[in-house]
């Protein structure tokens, strides 16, 4: 299938997705993935960040799906979203600079008390500190650190953008560190 035919088929699949056809949508996203990766790689200097940006772009396509109009070509629509997601990710990573809040690792302070694992295998002070967090921050930390979701999956579940989820998680981590530090002193 040539590129114009493929884009026409993607457009048809997106129109079906707008009507709620999940099977067409999953097939469409799977077919788009190599193209999205290629577009992101072409614009990104840091190869280790590619998958992060690809997920962000897929999430953006998902959120913007109501703006696709079947009478318009699919390719420029999709490429514009991927381009914007890439630029957004680049700006955010520059802003964050040294503060990594991606959620892959979190350097909690060691718990000075004897550990009696509670719910989710957390030590009681950590579980208590987690419960005291504001709901949105607690949910963000819980989804990334305990349930093991990727940031994009967590953002989807929370109904917010990846960057908003990262901000919530980062604030949660900071608050947790502060509270655990107070406990250890």
């Amino acid at each position: 299938m040539g590129e114009p035919e493929a884009e026409a088929a993607w457009g048809t699949a997106m129109a079906a997705a707008q009507r709620g056809d999940a099977a067409s949508y999953e097939k469409l996203l799977a077919e788009l993935l190599p193209e999205v990766r290629r577009l992101v790689r072409a614009r990104l200097f840091d190869p280790s960040a590619v998958e992060d940006v690809v997920q962000n772009a897929l999430l953006s396509i998902h959120r913007a799906r109501h703006t696709y109009r079947p009478e318009r070509p699919f390719g420029p629509w999709m490429r514009a979203i991927v381009r914007n997601a890439t630029i957004d990710s680049y700006r955010q990573s520059r802003r964050r600079s040294q503060r990594e809040v991606g959620g892959d690792t979190i350097d909690f302070l060691p718990d000075p008390r004897p550990v009696t694992p509670g719910e989710g295998g957390l030590s009681p002070p950590l579980a208590k500190a987690l419960e005291e967090l504001p709901t949105k921050q607690r949910e963000a930390v819980r989804m990334i650190q305990i349930e093991g979701l990727s940031v994009a999956e967590a953002a989807l579940r929370a109904g917010v953008s990846v960057s908003a989820l990262k901000v919530r998680a980062h604030r949660g981590y900071r608050a947790l560190r502060t509270r655990l530090q107070e406990v250890s002193e």
Partner: protein, 218 residues
């Protein structure tokens, strides 16, 4: 993040898929904004009546250029703003943005030329400038609200640019509406009471509208 988590995300996106209503087309969106302006024109027709000397004002070349510039700026600015909420319409957005900028510049230059030729004091008293200015701002509220609502239903990659362009367009629409009823005369009046409003609306409204769009996106 790993490729396998991306595949997991795709499954999750498909699983959580819900039907959506496609955003109104660009033509329909423009028709909505233009419709709001027509409501204001109808209000003017009933409440004040149109300026009976409107045609006669075109005798002076500078007024014709300034008025046509406002018409082009309003159409192109609104299209540029609305198209920035639809991914893949960057070429149309850029072309109409350039046209709107050129048209508004032509309006300002024509008024400037008129002031040079006729003098700054030509026409009505400065108090009329302020009166028309406030009316024009008032007429801008409805199209700006409609435009913002339509933008919030879209996906705006560059909120600042989209908001600025659309506000110039809707501000120019308001300037045209107030001009239809305005019996005042003179290049200074047209510039300060009417044609300057799109720039002011864009200057004051761009950041709040862009923040609203960013908030909506998040």
């Amino acid at each position: 993040m790993t490729p396998s988590s991306t595949e997991g995300l795709i499954r999750e996106l498909a699983r959580s898929l819900e039907p959506v209503t496609p955003r109104p087309s660009l033509v329909a969106s423009f028709a909505i904004v233009a419709g709001l302006v027509l409501v204001e024109v109808a209000y003017i027709a009933f409440a004040f009546g149109f300026n009976p000397h409107f045609k006669a004002m075109f005798i002076d070349g500078w007024f014709g250029i300034a008025f046509i510039g406002l018409v082009v700026a309003s159409i192109c600015g609104a299209i540029a703003g609305l198209s920035s909420a639809e991914p893949g319409r960057e070429r149309l957005r850029n072309a109409t943005a350039i046209a709107a900028g050129a048209a508004l510049s032509a309006t300002v230059l024509a008024c400037g030329f008129g002031i040079l030729r006729l003098g700054v004091g030509y026409g009505v008293a400065p108090t009329a400038d302020w009166s028309c200015f406030t009316h024009t701002i008032g007429f801008a509220l409805l199209p700006v609200a409609g435009f913002t609502w339509l933008m919030m239903r879209g996906w705006v990659g560059q909120p600042l640019v989209g908001a600025a362009l659309g506000l110039v367009g809707t501000g120019a629409m308001a300037a045209l509406v107030s001009e239809l009823a305005c019996a005042a005369w003179g290049p200074r009046h047209l510039l300060l009471g009417h044609a300057g409003v799109p720039l002011l609306v864009a200057a004051l409204g761009t950041i709040p509208v862009a923040l609203l769009l960013r908030w909506r996106a998040h």
